[in-house]
Symmetry: C2
């Protein structure tokens, strides 16, 4: 089984993970969680979104959170999600140095999610790119519904490749292929990942999965086998998309890191530190999380032999 | 990604799945579930265990259940678990034509589970095999804790291969490699599966996984990539072992079949039929099941576009 020797995990719990939670997390709680993630040696954190607070109330304190992160920026990359050029302006005003924008491979989902056609979003992307260049901000892009759409079904590979091509020609930094509603299967992930790495060997790709149908970790395994070495994951397996029916939890950071470690792949992250952070998240939210390792313990956990 | 074109799924929910349920399922309820499984075109069902009812009360009606299955035996293979020679005698008396016995790769787990050393169990296996030959009963064997033990940790590959070798020389029918407490990782599964298929290309192997640490489906994927084409699974993801700490649900039959179907692998099973059976199981037990597809629907499920 061919696998990369190292894999980077990007924590997206504070952005994608929180979107469906009714409890609004305070600035202080977010900072405490981020500190726990940093202590666990997580190096890339999508910490919030410059989206209108009416649409996603969890994100209303994104600017304040970032400003408290200033001194931590030496060791960690903080990424903000931006829905559009206005979001990029807000991010720039807050001093954010790396942003991630989203458009959907599915035209119908894009219309639902950001009220524009995919083609309009690609044009917007070019404008955002010009603005980010001017402000010296790195611009990532996530292609939602890459592996299928809850409204349209399968999206043709030609359409996916053509969107990727346009984003790369416009100068995207990291390009994420996202399975927004957890419908991707590992063969599909392996095939598409192999293809994009073959066509664009120098482009950094990242994969983003949800575990809605239990295939989240199989898709990480398949992507890694194809040679992808960067994955989004969400502490405790929180997650979902308010504008995509059927979307549930992201793949769980500690479960992914546990699996990769068990296979001998280096993530540089402390699993014990992650479990500490996940316990903190569970306490803040006041409910169980979908992740498994927090409940089961690691594979390496040994039990005493019962007295006979 | 190299995968088999067909895979056989063996339903073990009525045996392994039920062991940790406090509610004792009636003969009538078991027969209704088996009928639903047959309607879904499941071809191999581990329907019960000839174990002492004090140890596993769920199994006290195994003989009666089997006798009601008589007319269904043309199309379906019914397998009974037997812990020992006495179990084989009970199975023969009930008219069962195929049985599965269990021993542990871990000596400590074997002592906990069946009060004998692994070596003693291998000797017992030879005696059970003689008895089964005489009664014209097919004898399968499951090697528990193949991928690690909750008491001993890793079991050496040499020890695993030597146990397999002895069982094959004694004349085992299907040989199952079981991850009793859900600690296997997909690289380990791929490596061991590849190795045993290389050494014993003509021996039928089956894999048995639990999803305790979220890696259940990744292990099916890895085993399938190595060329294994037979897997145990439990309706709704029920399961656990009363004598193995940390053991939780088996991999979920409908989630496995869904993943395989999505990858274009033929299981001959009707997913809709399985979901019907799983709904019935949920109603009988009166609680939610760990499986995902029953909650989320299939990947192919389409949603209407909301009116704007």
């Amino acid at each position: 089984m061919k696998l990369p020797s190292t894999i980077q995990i990007n924590e997206v719990g504070l952005r994608d993970g929180l979107q469906l939670e009714s409890m609004i997390m305070s600035i202080d709680q977010k900072i405490k969680l981020i500190d726990a993630l940093i202590k666990a040696n997580v190096k890339t954190i999508e910490f919030g979104s410059f989206v209108h607070p009416k649409l996603v109330p969890q994100m209303k304190n994104t600017k304040e959170v970032f400003q408290l992160l200033a001194e931590k920026k030496k060791d960690v990359t903080f990424i903000a999600l931006i829905p559009n050029l206005k979001g990029a302006v807000l991010a720039a005003e807050a001093g954010v140095e790396r942003v991630n924008t989203v458009l959907s491979a599915s035209n119908t989902h894009n219309l639902q999610n950001i009220k524009k056609s995919t083609q309009q979003s690609l044009e917007d992307f070019a404008a955002i790119k010009d603005y980010c260049d001017e402000k010296e901000i790195l611009l990532d892009c996530t292609i939602a519904t890459t592996f299928g759409c809850p409204f349209e079904g399968t999206i043709s590979e030609d359409r996916i490749l053509s969107i990727i091509d346009e984003l790369i020609r416009t100068g995207v930094n990291v390009l994420s292929l996202a399975d927004t509603t957890g419908i991707a299967n590992p063969k599909q992930v392996f095939d598409l990942s192999s293809k994009v790495l073959e066509i664009w060997p120098d482009q950094p790709f990242n994969l983003h999965f949800h575990n809605t149908r239990g295939m989240g970790l199989t898709n990480v395994l398949a992507g890694a086998q194809a040679g992808i070495n960067s994955f989004d994951a969400s502490l405790g397996g929180l997650g979902g998309c308010p504008f995509a029916p059927g979307a549930t939890g992201n793949i769980c950071t500690e479960d992914v890191v546990h699996m990769l470690e068990e296979m001998g792949i280096d993530t540089a992250i402390s699993l014990d530190g992650l479990l500490e952070a996940s316990r903190m998240l569970r306490n803040i939210l006041g409910h169980e999380l979908p992740g498994q390792i927090l409940k089961s313990g690691k594979s390496s956990k040994l039990y005493p032999v019962p007295a006979s």
